[in-house]
Each structure stands twice: as structure tokens, then as C-alpha cells.
Symmetry: C2
Subunit: 362 residues, 2 copies
């Protein structure tokens, strides 16, 4: 990225954070009428929403600028307002999914510090007993509901033409359905309701992550910009490739990466028996009997993890996941090279995403 | 109710059920693209949505007819469609709240049979082990999300004038916020985060139940009918009185009523230490030390419950709750008698509600 791109992105981040802060402050103000506990829940949510990198809203706004062919500041102020408000709603939707995901997985930490569930649990007078865990989980469910509702409210009120709003609502509807189906498939894999074969896992990843993280922002901006249906279709495909590449890389980093850097517990994916492409591949090789006893064990040690990492590399699982990432990146390049519908500026936004992905690789 | 009113209500119930069935069939159809598990979840939801008495949607449609001064069949068909679609959305919103409430309370039964959580748990291959309970609870969280999103989608697409739709969205926003605040207060009372004093419990009941069950349908129809703000305000007050009277009666029936008739476990409110007005009153009397040891005990017996019932009657708690119901009913009558804004037909709908309430009393 050039210096001016970096600066523009920083300004954008500030704008989106300001909109999020405005929304959350207004909500917290209303919450005060319902007593201290409800206000505490909103204040807690406000702190945790700001923990993210705003990948989705930034992608959304940058693509809108690319598709409408003008920097954000040149657009009429009410249109600029609509774009930033929708961008903030994407982050609230993301955080809502994250919260219910954490409740379902029983996670109390994110990036080594208590998440909203852990923090609300800690605020309970009987912490860390059973009622405090119930209080934390309840907080996660209820705040997820409030933010899911809030994201829908923003889409429903978008200050755009009637048919544009309907297309946005259709897209949101599709996104929520597909993301929930993906989350259900993820739990079905962990709870052994469905068999963890490779194709099932890739489909689950696409639905659970790619759909709302990449397809939604890319398609929403195509709709807002009044782009032809062909552009929306190609952007959807681009989003699918990007989403899968990023998720595959996350899964690789969780097992092989530097825990201090990516902020996840280095053992958590193995301890929780997370069904990833890496594991599905290893399961088909003859090293699996050596991995199986530790996989999903709550007693897993750092030494076990080190041994499993070596086995996953030796059997080719690591290489297979890396190759899959390469395939998705190559497919994206081919899509862009042959595209008649994605204009050059928009292609550049996608290429910057790929560069970011490559920059994360080791 | 006259014979023709009963017949009209039956026809209405059929219309609303048909709309719910249409919505759920369409959702199940889409779900099939995401695999058997997701379709199973939707089919399960479709069965359970039909368990209710449709109190909220029927109140909504009857009041709309009363406020617009014409029976439903005389309205233009697209307006009729909008009313029935919104009515169905009220039931989906209700069921969404119920599902997350059941997840939070750990309930697996409703009216003596497995609820959606219990049924999905039973469908798990390892039922009734720990993974199957996780699968059931996950199903409850995810279906609650889907239906909450679905209710918002219906409000967002309502085929009404722009400013009417905005007023409906404002009302939905207020309702979701207040209901979630009420649910949080209910859990805060059970988890001993806040003190169970009388006013806190009444406020919790108003927020958790009256707001979405009575105020929402009554206010929504006032908005749809284009009634003056005064009408909406008075209907809100009427909804508050009705909602509190119904909830107080539910609480009385749970402890003193005939379990076979109302379908709730006769001991469950006592076992789960549900903080009701009855309990709050008893806590202030000198019989409380005799009740306290059994209240919230998982070992509570039928004999304990019988003894507690006698104590609750003797100390005046039962009489106090009955008196509170009377006060809310009287306040509603006074509101109607002095009302300039609620037309006679609409008053009749509210009076029929009160008659239904009185009919339930023993």
C-alpha cells in the first residue's frame, strides 16, 4: 500500500470508530433507563466491539469508493453517512455472531483477555462460581440478540432508494441464514453429528466465515453503487475465494503460527478438537492413529502439541492447506484477469486484500 | 364473546396459521440447500411455533379491524396481506424470545413435552449425553437468532408508507431493547445480582412480558391504522395493565392452579426460585423463614409445595397478588371510561381481553 492509501485507511478507521462510538453511546444512554446492570452490559459491549481490526467495514467502504469512482469525501454528505452507518452495522453483525459463537463454544477469553462473557462473569458478586458463569453466558446471548437486531435496524433504515434497500435486505437475509447454517455445521462437526470429511469442512468454512466477512461487504457495496448484477456475482465469487483463503490461513496459524503474535492459545484448536481442513487431511493418512488420542484431549500438553505439529507437517496436511490457499488466490487472480464487470479500482482493492494475506504468511 | 365473534376469531386463527406455515415452509425449503441438519432444525421449529395460542397476532389483527372500522375481509387485499404478515412476525418474535429464555433457564420441556431444545437434543446420536445437550442448546440459540432476524425482515419490508414503516421500526427497536432488559433483570433476580424487592419484580414483568406481548401488538396496530399519537399512548398504557394482570395471573396459577390444566410443572417456579410478586410479598412477612429452606431447592417434594402454598395463602401473598390484578383491571376500566382517543370497537377488543382474563380466574 502507498503512503496515501495507508493514510486514507487510517482516516476511514477513525470515521468508522466514531460511528460505532456514537451508536454505542446512544444505546448506553437508553440502557441507563433500565438500571445499572443493563447499562453495564452495554458499556462492556462498547469496550469489546473496539477490539477488532474492522476488516469488514473497511473493505466495504474502500470498495464503495472504488465502485463509485470517487473518494468518500467527494460524495454528498448523506450518502457518505449511509455508507459509514452500514459499515458500522457490518461490524456489529460480526460481533453479534462472535458473541453467540463464544457462548456456544464456552469461550471466556479472546486474545488472552476475558471476552464480554468472561468480563460479565467477573462482574458477578459470586464470581467465579456457577451462577457467575450463567450470568456471563446470559449476557453473551442477550447482547448478541441486541446487536443482531441493531444491524437489521440499520439495513432497514438505509437512506437509499426502495429497491436498493430491498436488495440489501435480501442480501442480509441470505447472509444470516448462511452464516447460521455454517455455525450449525461447525458445531455438528465438533459434536460428531456429521462426519468430518474434507468437503463438509470447506463448505462449513465458506458458509460460517466467507459469506458474512467477505461476500456480504463486497456484494453490499455493489448494490449500493448500483453496479450491474454481473459485478455483484463476480464480487461474490471473489469474496468466497478471499474468505476461504483467510480462514485456511487462520487455521494454519492457530496450529503452526506464533501464538504470541496471533493472540490465540496455541493449544486451543487441538484441545477443542476443531475440525479443520488440516485435521481432515491428516485423518486420511497413516499418522492419524498417533494424533487421535491427543486430539480433543483436555490434558494436552505443549510437548503433545509440538509432536502433533511435526506429524501434521510430515503427513502433508500443512502443505495441503497451504496449497489450497494458493489455489484460492490463483482462482481470484484468474477471476480478476478475465473480469469484464469489476472495474480497475475495485480490482485494486481486492489485490490489496491478497497482498495483506500474503504478508501474513510465513 | 358472541357466536359470530368466536367464528371470526377461528377464521383469523386459520389465516395466521396459514401465513406462519407459508413462511416456515419457504424457510425449510431454503434450509434444505444447507444439508439435512439445518432442514431438521427448521422442521422442528415449524412444529413448535404452532404450539402457541396466537394471543399476540390475534389481538393485533382484531385491534386493527377495530381501529380501521372495517372487518378484515373488507380491506384491500394488499393491506390485509400486510396485517397478516406482521401478525405472523409477532408470533415469530415471541417464539424467538421464548427459545433464548429456555436456553438461559436450561428448560428442556414446555407443557410436559420436549421443547425445541429437548427435541434436538433427543435427535443427537449420543443422546442423552453432554454433547447432545450442547447440540440442543446450540439449536435453541441459532433458531432464536434466525427468527429474531426474520421478524425484523418482515417489519423492514412492510408494504406501508415510508414514515409508517419508520414508526413500526422504532416500536420494534424499543420493544426488543425493553424485552431484553426485562429478561436480563429476570436472570439478575434469579442469579442474585439484584435484590428481589417488589418494585423491581413488577418492573421486570412489565419489561419482559407486557411490552412485547401486549404493548407491541396494540401500538403497532395504532401505527398501521394511522391513529393519532394519543391513541397509541393510551393503548400502550392499556397494554401495560393487561400484560401485568396476565403475568400476575400466570404466576398465581403456576403455584396455586391446577397443573394438569395450565400445563406447567406445579413445582417448577418454586424449584427454580422464580422471583415473583407472591414471593417478594412473602419475604416481607414472618412466614418467610419457614419457606426459605425449600425455595430454590432441587429436592422440593409435593408435600413441601403443599405446605408452601398454605403459607403463601396464610401470610397474605396470594391475596396481595390477586389484589394487584384487580388494581390493573380497574385501572384499565378507568382508562377506557375516560378515554377520548380509543374508539368504541377498540375498547370492546380490550374488554374481551379482560373477560378472558377473568374467565381464567378461579
Amino acid at each position: 500500500m502507498t503512503v496515501s492509501t495507508v493514510r486514507a485507511r487510517e482516516e476511514l478507521r477513525v470515521q468508522i470508530e466514531r460511528e460505532l462510538a456514537r451508536h454505542l453511546a446512544q444505546r448506553t444512554e437508553v440502557a441507563c433507563d433500565y438500571g445499572e446492570q443493563f447499562a453495564t452490559l452495554w458499556r462492556c459491549a462498547a469496550r469489546h466491539v473496539f477490539g477488532g481490526k474492522l476488516v469488514r467495514p473497511i473493505l466495504f467502504v474502500e470498495m464503495t469508493q472504488a465502485l463509485t469512482g470517487q473518494p468518500d469525501s467527494a460524495a454528498p454528505s448523506h450518502e457518505r453517512g449511509t455508507v459509514i452507518t452500514l459499515a458500522a452495522a457490518l461490524e456489529l453483525l460480526h460481533y453479534s455472531f462472535l458473541l453467540h459463537d463464544d457462548v456456544i463454544d464456552g469461550d471466556l477469553l479472546r486474545r488472552h483477555v476475558p471476552n464480554l462473557i468472561g468480563e460479565m462473569r467477573g462482574a458477578h458478586p459470586a464470581s467465579p462460581g456457577e451462577p457467575s458463569l450463567h450470568w456471563g453466558r446470559t449476557s453473551g446471548i442477550l447482547m448478541g440478540d441486541l446487536l443482531l437486531a441493531g444491524a437489521h435496524q440499520t439495513f432497514a433504515r438505509a437512506d437509499v432508494a426502495y429497491c436498493t434497500r430491498l436488495r440489501l435486505l435480501d442480501l442480509l437475509d441470505h447472509t444470516v441464514t448462511e452464516s447460521v447454517a455454517g455455525e450449525q455445521a461447525d458445531v455438528a462437526l465438533s459434536d460428531a453429528v456429521i462426519a468430518p470429511d474434507l468437503q463438509t469442512i470447506v463448505t462449513m468454512m465458506a458458509h460460517k466465515t466467507a459469506t458474512y466477512s467477505f461476500e456480504l461487504p463486497l456484494r453490499a457495496e455493489a448494490i449500493l453503487a448500483g453496479s450491474p448484477l454481473g459485478t455483484e456475482r463476480e464480487l461474490r465469487e471473489a469474496g468466497r475465494h478471499l474468505g476461504l483463503a483467510f480462514q485456511l490461513q487462520d487455521d494454519l496459524m492457530a496450529v503452526f503460527g506464533d501464538a504470541a503474535e496471533h493472540g490465540k492459545d496455541a493449544l486451543s484448536d487441538l484441545r477443542e478438537a476443531k475440525q479443520t481442513v488440516i485435521i481432515a487431511y491428516a485423518r486420511m493418512t497413516d499418522v492419524w492413529p498417533q494424533i487421535a488420542p491427543s486430539f480433543g484431549s483436555h490434558e494436552i500438553t505443549v510437548a503433545d502439541a509440538e509432536r502433533i505439529r511435526e506429524l501434521l507437517t510430515r503427513c502433508g496436511a500443512q502443505g495441503f492447506a497451504e496449497q489450497l490457499i494458493d489455489e484460492h488466490v490463483r482462482a481470484l487472480y484468474e477471476l480478476l484477469a478475465g473480469s469484464l464487470d469489476i472495474p480497475p479500482d475495485a480490482q485494486q482493492v481486492l489485490l490489496t486484500c491478497v497482498q495483506h494475506l500474503e504478508g501474513r504468511r510465513r
